[in-house]
Symmetry: C2
Subunit: 390 residues, 2 copies
């Protein structure tokens, strides 16, 4: 434990939101009569995040007043910090189809009704401004910018009532904000550090997780399970890795694995703030922010996602960020370390690039034990073999 | 960095005290005419701590109102947290000799005048109550209790003006509160963790120091250099070890070695609070509290020195405690770890008792590399050889 924070942390804005409908039959019947639109996987993830309270205090898709405020100042119009608008974009055709409706039903790609949206307004997005504000670039090479510009100029705003989980994989690990908070309470954890990841846990991250865990009560391993980039390791392989590393190398009573059903936006610093707020909603008191958090390409400075926290008062963010350097195995230290704790020449450091790791795995080469635990390397090599077979 | 604390931390009570005289010649002349008493090494250490601001806001030896308040509530009569009275105890003979004086001079064992004390009051100490309050025991086997009961029933209170350093070893490392704060500023460190120790730094502590350092800007290695127990490693050997471990295993721009010229009281939890306040005065923002901090024998529960921080509001203490478990090398983890981060059976753990370590060193046996860095083991073995020679 570090310091004396004895109470559980409040959700962002003070109240945990639950957008699941409490009248499923009634709403389903109503949904059958409504005009429908089919939404993307990204929107399905956003719906899931809204439903389970992860986007508290949001109850639906961002309206124009909040949209403008967020792009200008990273705050809702109420003044509460919110770094990225959660919009439901549609194109002109869809807009014309629904512009006179008060309510619509949102459907997934299978044609199932998943949520009813009570429309409060429809407004034109300023995509150029949004791209530059959220992503710091308008280049279409940026996956977040690409999605933005391809998703339509109109934003439909309003509260949602969700009929069913719109992310339905690894359901036993999808405990939402309320369930996760309850589990923390049952474990007696008061100080919990969350770790966001979209990669398997190699030794470098294991080290940072353990450094963080030494000073708190528990660790929430909280991988992003919605859409990631094509070259990221698939979700099911990652889950195997997460279960294995926790099982073999962490005390059971100090860790929890929960999926975060969000899509990556790759908004770097602003997504780091969003990720921190989400973990606050899950009941975590600390959040790990590494170098180039939620970054892609070279759009953000190495430490931008750490520095951005200085723009707010700590009590406005609520959750405490823990900033880490990159870590590595050092032969001279004979242990894991970072540039903050190791004085030795970089020739002593074992550092493998992502590209090198992928090459080695494809070639069936076992990764060095100091880089990846053998149990994890085995899972990754086997997954490569499966991939070749299919 | 963890969180966004951007300003330097205020001294305890708000103002850094400096009890060195700013009129050395005048005070020396005055001192020659005053009745003198010779003080113990403990008192010389307390004088040094007062002089360099480490006991801020104290300007001298505790008066009766504060004495009673401290024993009752761990607070000065002003309400400010203060866990242990800093008294100047004298016996009846000395009392009779000085009871009508307004000022006296304090001398060291060499007969040198070191400080002038302006007496505000002399009162009878309640030694039994003090022992039970500060040390939780009245057993004379406890070194702090023994000193207390052997040092006289009368307390002389008042502000001191100090003529010279009353601790004059390792002077280049005795930079006091002002000098250390200045050094932090020059290094650009905003978040500094202090580590209190009276032992050489073995791997277990190196690990905890590095865990702490990963999340702040700098580490102050701050050993207690005043009186310790007879079976503790001598100060000069410890200093050799500290310089070596920092030189070989820590980045130079992230660490500082400063001596803390205090005597150990072995007051366990209450001394942990005192140690934290002292480090706050030195300008540190974080303070490591291990298991059984400042303990001796079995007088305190393993976690008492951590739990006591819960009795105060974090902002009253000001400095943030970092609580650690014991750590060790684990063969299955193939790394340092603690019970909080390692799931493996204790048969995988390399743990050596203090007694075992002393035996091995006396026998000239090299300690395992996973227990002590070879450079440190070498210094300790050589010191044992020297000891045998003399």
């Amino acid at each position: 434990m570090m310091s004396n924070n004895k109470c559980s942390i409040s959700p962002h804005g003070g109240t945990l939101i639950n957008c699941f409908s409490d009248n499923l039959d009634g709403l389903s019947q109503e949904a059958n009569k409504l005009t429908s639109i089919t939404v993307t996987k990204r929107v399905l993830c956003d719906l899931e995040m809204l439903a389970i309270g992860a986007f508290s205090p949001l109850k639906g898709f961002t309206g124009e007043k909040d949209y403008k405020s967020i792009l200008e100042s990273m705050r809702l119009s109420s003044g509460l910090i919110w770094p990225v608008p959660i919009t439901l974009q549609v194109n002109e055709e869809t807009y014309n189809n629904i512009k006179n409706k008060n309510k619509i039903v949102l459907k997934n790609e299978k044609g199932e009704s998943v949520a009813v949206l009570s429309i409060t307004e429809i407004y034109k997005a300023d995509l150029e401004k949004e791209a530059l504000s959220v992503f710091k670039t308008n280049e279409l090479k940026h996956p977040g910018v690409k999605y933005l510009f391809e998703s339509g100029n109109y934003c439909i705003a309003g509260e949602v009532k969700v009929l069913k989980h719109t992310y339905d994989e690894f359901t036993e690990y999808n405990t939402g904000c309320e369930g996760t908070r309850k589990a923390f309470k049952e474990k007696g954890w008061k100080r919990i550090v969350a770790f966001q990841t979209r990669n398997p846990v190699h030794r470098a991250h294991e080290y940072l997780l353990k450094v963080a865990l030494e000073t708190v009560d528990g660790l929430l391993l909280h991988p992003t399970m919605g859409e990631t980039k094509d070259d990221d390791i698939p979700a099911d392989i990652r889950m195997k890795c997460y279960r294995e590393i926790l099982d073999k190398y962490f005390p059971k009573n100090r860790t929890m694995l929960v999926v975060m059903p969000a899509s990556m936006r790759y908004a770097g610093p602003k997504e780091a703030i969003l990720h921190a707020i989400i973990r606050k909603n899950y009941g975590c008191t600390h959040f790990i922010v590494g170098r180039d958090h939620a970054g892609v390409g070279n759009y953000y400075g190495t430490y931008d996602a750490q520095k951005i926290f200085d723009e707010f008062k700590p009590e406005e963010i609520g959750i405490t960020p823990i900033f880490f350097e990159h870590s590595f195995y050092c032969r001279a230290c004979n242990s894991m370390a970072s540039y903050k704790t190791c004085p030795h020449d970089s020739s002593e450091h074992l550092i493998l690039s992502g590209t090198k790791v992928r090459e080695m795995l494809k070639a069936g080469q076992i990764l060095p034990e100091e880089f990846t635990r053998p149990e994890i390397a085995k899972i990754l090599i086997e997954s490569m073999k499966e991939k070749v077979k299919t």
